[in-house]
Symmetry: C2
Subunit: 255 residues, 2 copies
């Protein structure tokens, strides 16, 4: 149980006894927003799974923190799920990244599918990857995770079974199927495959769903799961699916 | 499977062969936004579980629809869950209502708790109940439900076990506990009680959590469940909990 109120990200957090400096952003947040003073007890996490407690020792310019102790980090899910999610319209992907981190996804792979209404070039011009990584960090801070899941580079989805292997997306690979999807034969969520090696991939499409040749490829490489007969909003599908999958795996003792 | 693209709410939808008029709002949406013309095939649902197909016969003023057939409605969950949810700040409750309807909640009971940052009077002045009912209807249209869950009047939560009985909130009653809740002994989600009569209540608190005397009352009347060790955002807690509960009940064959 954390007993500190505020947590800060320090990539190279060091061992107890050492002093580390917060980044410029984190320093500004600590002093200008939270108005922390020397002596304030804070939490520090390194994004790789370490959770520490320290004391602010200096606030001029960068904030210095003396690391006092390493504490138990919030445990990660027993199944490391990579979320391969089609980029949605507008800034909706921010919410998908934020919620996936909160639910416990291990990594997030944005993908551009036939019906994604954006391009890799547009995403790069918009510096979206950097933005999603900031969102992931902020969400990890808020939800108490000591691990910041990596937001991987956006890739074009190609309807080719080897695409999954090329990107090292771990099996079992589950694709979330819309209730009225015709080509993909949905597996009731009850029969979702167990993660054999403690890993899995969840694939979620864009607002407009999958193109016919994409569905063919997904049928060859993935297990389609549905989550009840109601149509899920595209920006809510991942959070619902992750919550359901982790719950099912917990009940089945796989998680 | 629905084969129509647009669905409209008609409270008194009538039998096949009869002609019904869409409401002023629905008529405006049909003609000004969707630009439907006589001959357009549309879906009609009555909010009580009936799903019909009809044809637009007139678009001057109110839109007239000749009901042609009753079709299979999207099935409702086998467990009727009433969501008793503390009113959140700003317009966040709109999203809670929208998502709860999409997930399949049977009814939504907004509550004002000790740490809710609003009052019954402020909610009434703001006509929030009417707004939430419009949100519920819009969400039912979008997700394909033929049932519009009732958004009940907001009630003050009193830390008294009889409060649940007075509001007829069905057992088992589950309260979502924060991972660091101390007073409430959380039950792992694996052990959530089965809904005996096909009904259950899920209670979710506000941003600031529960006051000590509220926790005491909840301990007496509810089973506390947690959903993993990460802190859920207040406006995401209900959607995560409903997704997990329905998944668990499905796996256990109770749903």
């Amino acid at each position: 149980m954390r007993t500190v109120r505020h947590r800060f990200f320090v990539q190279d957090a060091g061992a107890p006894g050492t002093t580390v400096a917060l980044s410029a952003d984190e320093s500004a947040h600590a002093t200008r927003v939270l108005r922390l003073r020397p002596g304030a007890v804070i939490g520090v996490f390194d994004g790789g799974g370490r959770e520490l407690v320290g004391v602010v020792t200096a606030v001029g310019g960068r904030v210095d923190v003396r690391i006092d102790a390493e504490i138990a980090a919030v445990p990660e899910p027993a199944v490391a799920v990579t979320l391969a999610h089609a980029v949605l319209k507008g800034d909706k992907m921010d919410g998908v990244v934020r919620d996936a981190v909160m639910l416990g996804a291990a990594a997030i792979r944005p993908i551009v599918t036939r019906r994604s209404e954006t391009t890799l070039a547009a995403l790069e011009r918009g510096h979206r990857l950097e933005r999603w990584r900031r969102v992931a960090l902020a969400s990890a801070k808020q939800c108490g995770r000591a691990v910041v899941p990596e937001v991987l580079e956006t890739q074009a989805f190609t309807p080719d079974a080897s695409w999954f292997d090329a990107l090292a997306l771990p099996a079992p690979r589950l694709v979330l199927a819309e209730p009225d999807a015709r080509a993909v034969r949905p597996t009731p969520a009850v029969d979702v495959p167990r993660p054999g090696q403690g890993r899995a991939t969840l694939v979620v499409g864009p607002e407009g769903g999958w193109a016919p040749d994409e569905i063919e490829a997904l049928e060859a490489s993935c297990v389609a799961v549905t989550l009840g007969p109601r149509t899920l909003r595209a920006d809510a599908a991942a959070v619902v699916a992750l919550a359901a999958l982790f719950a099912i795996w917990r009940v089945e003792g796989a998680c």
